[in-house]
């Protein structure tokens, strides 16, 4: 069984940006109340004790969670104070960076809250996809936050969302972010977008260029993490995830909405609410076990449409969240994932073959040395000093 219990606190439905692909609904000023937050902390600690999970993974999400920074710090402090001695807790914060200041970052780092920044690429692309409430680009304010964040944590993660409109610029985006100083890239697709074959072909070309970029950097002995490539190499170099190792939707992972409703994953927390996926409520006794079990079982059911596929075990078709975003249901496999995996997997494997043929030392250590993550972290810290 997985030892991690992951809970996400959605601190508010409000956000100062209006990202084109945002799925969380109308931006209303509905913050999580202090009472709900306290009840949430108590509930998570109680669940951790019940499930015997020695690791707690607390994530802050929104809307923009930094709008409710006091509440955020309050929740983190309560966890630090009240967690059992034999339980470790880690914090993650996903932010658009517009409200991130040096003093606030100091507070976050003091509480060991790991900050992940959402940046969609060079300024023009970022502005196009992530305008603010007034319709103006947000890149200027984000660019101010980048050096501040990287100074505090050289291993900070950056999340980029690829949409059909930005599909042709994946390589450019990563390169730009690399030049800004980021080394941990989390590239993800907007799975709810109406992707077409034509878009996928454009994305494929972009990935091919990105593969060349990746190879070049690896040949230079650079250290970095590019999720879309590393995860697919990992799916070959390490055994496929068995159900117990995955997020186990609704059981070892859940989200707390600002009103106290409990959902299986961040994807289901919207301003309007998705009652069919609500698995309980903090004000009404916590989890509704039958709903929780039902959602979990639906998400774990085998996908008939994937039957006989050679990529099973390497593909992400198990992710209920993505399936929901793409198809509106957790029981059907996402066609976007299907095409994306079938397109990206050979690109990554060909790249892996090339690096392996050259016996690229960085590639070998990155994927076969269990101590690599620690070494990588230490090296980054040393470099930043």
């Amino acid at each position: 069984m997985s030892k991690v219990l992951a809970a996400t606190f959605h601190l508010t439905h409000q956000c100062n940006l209006r990202c084109t692909y945002c799925y969380t609904g109308e931006k209303l000023n509905i913050p999580m109340s202090r009472a709900i937050a306290d009840a949430g902390v108590d509930f998570v600690l109680q669940e951790a004790q019940k499930s015997g999970a020695p690791y707690l993974d607390i994530c802050f999400f929104g809307g923009e969670p930094l709008i409710e920074k006091d509440l955020l710090l309050h929740i983190a402090d309560r966890f630090r104070l009240e967690k059992p001695e034999d339980c470790s807790v880690s914090f993650k914060l996903s932010t658009n960076g517009t409200l991130l200041t040096a003093s606030l970052l100091h507070e976050l780092m003091r509480r060991q809250i790991y900050v992940s920044l959402s940046v969609d690429g060079p300024p023009d692309l970022h502005d196009q996809q992530r305008p603010n409430a007034a319709g103006q680009g947000s890149s200027a304010s984000v660019q101010k936050a980048i050096p501040v964040l990287l100074k505090a944590n050289p291993c900070a993660n950056v999340t980029c969302v690829l949409t059909p409109a930005s599909a042709s610029r994946a390589d450019e985006t990563v390169d730009w972010l690399y030049k800004q100083g980021f080394r941990y890239f989390n590239l993800t697709l907007d799975y709810s977008a109406p992707w077409t074959m034509e878009d996928m072909r454009v994305l494929e070309k972009s990935y091919l260029r990105l593969a060349d970029w990746y190879e070049k950097r690896m040949n230079e002995g650079k250290r970095f993490y590019l999720s879309c490539f590393e995860e697919r190499v990992r799916s070959h170099t390490q055994a496929p995830l068995v159900p117990d190792e995955r997020c186990s939707l609704a059981y070892r992972q859940f989200s707390i909405a600002p009103d106290g409703a409990l959902y299986p994953c961040v994807q289901f927390v919207t301003t309007e609410g998705v009652p069919e996926f609500m698995i309980g409520h903090l004000s009404h006794g916590g989890f509704d076990e039958s709903c929780r079990r039902h959602v979990h079982n639906c998400s774990e059911a085998p996908k008939a449409e994937c039957s006989g596929c050679s990529l099973q075990g390497r593909c992400a078709s198990w992710c209920a969240c993505i399936n929901y975003a793409s198809t509106g249901t957790v029981t059907a496999a996402s066609p976007v994932v299907c095409h994306h995996e079938q397109m990206l997997m050979p690109i990554v494997d060909t790249l892996g073959n090339r690096l392996w043929k050259k016996r690229n030392n960085m590639f070998i250590h990155k994927h076969y040395n269990p101590a690599y993550p620690m070494i990588d972290y230490l090296e980054h810290v040393m470099e930043s000093r």
Partner: protein, 483 residues
């Protein structure tokens, strides 16, 4: 305005396995020539200052100054790829040396080390039996090559990520054996092969399917309902357990099944005739005779059932050596044709049962089953032999075909990658269609040639490596066995 094509979920039936090592392969960092992590100067200085390097760094220089490692068994249980993880079709297994090459390498290694061996030595320990390929009764050193078809019960990992539960319960095998033993000893004519259906492995043949078969068999001797009969027969023909067994030697099986499903009883007869024709091509049948549809139905069922019996007797799986399988099937088929020769007409099943229970063909079948039990190595037998080697009693190198010893390791030679995507060649962008096609063809040809050469070189290196490992094994065995 062009219409954009929406996406659909389409399973990918075949996928070429990447060349870089997977989680099933040895860790490349465990290789003696693996390079240490390229720490930055700054990091090394810091680590030296804090004493970290002394504790954790991997140094190639350090390896060179170490004394030569003591001899060790390169064929110990850990180094075998057993029990093996069944792989999904399409993800592929690493390329392996040919069985012939493995045998030749082993023979060369033993000759080079001066071990005189006798072939096909029967090792027996309690109830365990295994025919060793070569064994020297003086030095107690030998070897057995374990290709896929020689791997018996327990050698397949029971529960993998595919949640394969087929191999979990082997109690049905015991039921089969008990049933046939009883049938043989009682000489009871009332017992027939039809009862065999009841002992089918529930994990492989669901109960509903068994009922269908039973219904079909019942109807064969009563009023035959053409619709039910055709449908059930088609199901039976499609059943994976029969399918897998026969597909290897009846290439036209798919066509037969398709005809059976899609058309009427006439086609069943046609399918039967076609099968006879195929058998004739395999020199199984001396003459082709006109037969009736019910007769052919019975014939097919009997044929399938007896094949299943034979293969289950041979050790749970169908992975019997091609040669042995051929011989076994020849015997079975001859039994059937002997009956066919002497007793014409319907009620074939009853006659077959009678022939099997009372005739001598059963003995031949049983003997063959026993022989196959002897040549197949179960996990218990492999462990017992390993224990014997560890205790210095007997040294048998188990050259496991699924393990790292016989693997043709990728990347030993260059140019094994696929040619680049044409889209990835910006210099080809402005070329006309014909030039580009020619370049692609040239590239493809060069790649195929390089790939072929690379394969041959890698294979050669793998053979040399295996030979060296076997010689190391003999040296270790001599050291341990004080010979």
């Amino acid at each position: 305005m062009t219409t954009k094509s929406p996406l659909q979920v389409k399973p990918l039936r075949r996928y070429i396995k990447p060349r870089y090592p997977s989680y099933n392969d040895p860790n490349p960092l465990a290789h003696p020539y693996a390079r240490p992590y390229p720490f930055s100067k700054r990091f090394v200085q810091w680590a030296l200052a804090s004493g970290l390097v002394g504790a954790s760094a991997v140094s190639a220089d350090a390896q060179q100054t170490n004394p030569a490692p003591p001899l060790k068994n390169p064929f110990d249980l850990k180094s075998l790829g057993l029990p093996y993880q069944p792989m999904m079709f399409g993800t592929g297994l690493p390329e392996r040396l040919k069985e012939k090459d493995v045998r030749e390498a082993a023979a060369r290694a033993f000759a080079a080390e001066g071990v005189a061996v006798s072939t096909n030595y029967l090792w027996r320990e309690g109830t365990q039996e295994l025919i060793l390929d070569a064994y020297d009764t003086v030095s107690h050193i030998g070897y057995v090559v374990l290709p896929y078809y020689k791997l018996g019960p327990g050698t397949e990992r029971e529960a993998g990520w595919r949640n394969d539960n087929q191999s979990k319960d082997a109690s049905w095998l015991a039921r089969h054996k008990a049933y046939f033993k009883e049938m043989k000893s009682s000489q009871d004519a009332r017992k027939s092969l039809l009862d065999y259906l009841k002992t089918m492995d529930p994990a492989r043949v669901p109960e509903s399917r068994q009922k269908q078969y039973q219904a079909l068999v019942d109807q064969l001797h009563d009023n035959i309902n053409a619709t039910v009969e055709t449908e059930t027969f088609a199901n039976m023909m499609l059943d994976g357990t029969f399918h897998r067994v026969r597909a290897s030697y009846l290439p036209d099986l798919e066509a037969i099944v398709e005809q059976t499903i899609t058309t009427n009883r006439k086609s069943i007869r046609h399918a039967g005739l076609k099968r006879l024709q195929i058998l004739e091509e395999h020199r199984m049948l001396t003459e082709q005779r006109p037969v009736s549809a019910p007769y052919m139905l019975e014939f097919n069922i009997a044929y399938n059932l007896i094949n299943k019996v034979a293969f289950e007797l041979s050790g749970v799986r169908q992975n019997v050596a091609a040669k042995d399988r051929w011989e076994l099937l020849t015997r079975i088929q001859r039994t059937l044709f002997n009956i066919q020769e002497t007793q014409e007409g319907p009620f074939f099943m009853q006659k077959l049962k009678s022939a099997l229970v009372n005739g001598t063909d059963w003995t031949a079948l049983e003997a063959m089953g026993h022989y196959i039990d002897q040549i197949q190595a179960s996990m218990d037998e492999i462990e017992a032999l390993t224990m014997e080697a560890e205790s210095g009693k007997r040294f048998v190198a188990m050259i496991d075909w699924l393990g790292p010893h016989t693997e043709i390791r990728p990347g030993v030679v260059e140019q094994r990658d696929r040619p680049p995507y044409p889209q990835a060649r910006p210099d080809w962008k402005d070329l006309d269609k014909e030039t580009r096609a020619r370049l692609i063809a040239e590239h493809q040809k060069a790649y195929e040639e390089a790939y072929k050469n690379a394969n041959e070189q890698a294979e050669e290196l793998s053979i040399q490596r295996l030979e060296k490992e076997i010689r190391q094994f003999i040296q270790w065995a001599r050291q341990e066995g004080k010979y």
